[in-house]
Amino acid sequence: MTIHERFAKIREQTAEVLHGLFHGMIEHPAFEQIEDEAMDQEDAFFFACFADAFGIPSPVSYYTAELLPYMAEDFEAWERRLWDHGSVLDWKGHYHF
């Protein structure tokens, strides 16, 4: 490995670390906040659609049931989230396992 190659490699690694640092400290928290808001909005949307899941009679749940096939996966998480807001695993998508 020549000295040039070694320098290039170090530069590459430094760039990656810096980019990671930038992403972790600035970029990621920023869009995570927006995503938080998006999820809150989505939760509100779910609630408007399926209030009857919490015992509030909803005249439109017959129609919104049609939407369930498309949001089935989110629906389940939402229901758990609302029943038990303290659940660690379902607290929005914040835990990046």
């Binding site: 005249p59 049931a65 629906f75």
Partner: protein
């Protein structure tokens, strides 16, 4: 496009008789007519002594006359199966099992029955009606009918808000996708917005048809309760921008001959006197005309009697779409 006529009113005033008679009258005038019963307690079958199903079938012994009875229970069941089928296509069995309870619940709420009925009515207006010149709806008693007819506006507003909410959250998702990240969801290919829009268009269609191509008649009996309820109905329908074209007074007691003076005759005269007062009240105070006065019959109104009643209906059936009757 067919013309739609709705008959509404309190329970037991004879909506089925009047709408059947009207159907017969239209058919006799040479217009291909479909009678649709939306009252869950169907009695069209009894009037014509023939069992009708969820699809239009010809009425035996009459020309140009067809009838059907909407079965909301079947419609609810179908809707349920539809969603389950769709679900099986979209997600895994594990998720299906989790969500099933919610779907089941949505179909067991009291509103489900109404929604299914409403869906079916729209379907009839959009698809089945094409083969007919005139479609006569024999509706369920007042409360249900009013709710049914107010649904397009009510649901339309609701769906609007849902769409707005959904778009807002999708917009935020897009904004959250910085750089070369792909947004998790976008407005353009969101099946949920597409579905909601589809619903919205259906409700708008129903609202337009009800306001523009439909005529409403209320049936009442000459008694105090019936008159009071009809008065309220006219107001409420007006509130939904649906104008009542007229009222039909049914079950008017026949007057005894003048030379009769038995106990029965005296009783009948008193009843008639009271009823005449009520009818006068209706004529004077209601903002809509009385289009027919039908005498009470001693036997069930069927067969030839139905034709007699049809003749008594003062609703012009020959009028075409350009001149509403």
């Amino acid at each position: 496009m067919a013309e739609f006529t709705f008959f509404g009113g309190k329970g037991g005033v004879g909506k089925t008789t009047v709408s059947s008679a009207y159907g017969v009258k239209c058919a006799n005038a040479g217009r291909k007519t479909l009678i649709v019963s939306t009252d869950p307690a169907h009695s069209t079958s009894d009037v014509f002594d023939q069992q009708f199903g969820d699809d239009p079938s010809e009425v035996a012994g009459y020309e140009n006359l067809w009838a059907m009875e909407i079965d909301p229970e079947e419609a609810v069941e179908e809707h349920l199966m539809d969603i389950r089928r769709q679900m099986a296509k979209q997600v895994s069995q594990v998720v299906v099992n989790e969500i099933d309870a919610q779907i089941e619940m949505a179909h067991n709420t009291p509103g489900a029955y109404e929604a299914a009925l409403f869906d079916r009515v729209i379907e009839v207006m959009r698809d089945e009606s094409e083969a007919f010149d005139r479609v006569v709806f024999d509706t369920s008693p007042t409360g249900g009918t009013l709710r049914l007819l107010s649904l397009p506006e009510f649901l339309g507003g609701w769906i609007d808000r849902l769409i707005e909410k959904r778009e807002k959250s999708l917009d935020l998702y897009e904004k959250a996708a910085i750089g070369d990240m792909k947004p998790r969801k976008t407005v353009d290919d969101d099946p949920i917005i597409a579905r909601l829009n589809e619903r919205k268009e259906t409700f708008e269609f129903a609202g337009d048809v009800l306001r523009e191509d439909a005529t409403f008649y209320l049936v009442l009996n000459p008694d105090e309760l019936s008159v009071a309820e009809t008065r309220r109905s006219i107001d409420q329908l007006g509130g939904f921008d649906l104008d009542v074209a007229g009222v039909v007074v049914n079950k008017v007691t026949p007057e005894p001959d003048p030379e009769e003076d038995g106990k029965g005759a005296r009783y009948l005269r008193t009843v008639c006197e009271r009823e005449r007062e009520r009818i006068r009240e209706v004529e004077d105070e209601f903002p809509v005309p009385v289009v027919a006065r039908i005498e009470e019959r001693t036997s069930e109104v069927k067969g030839d009697l139905l034709r007699d009643v049809a003749a008594e209906l003062g609703i012009d059936v020959a009028a075409d779409a350009s001149a509403p009757n």
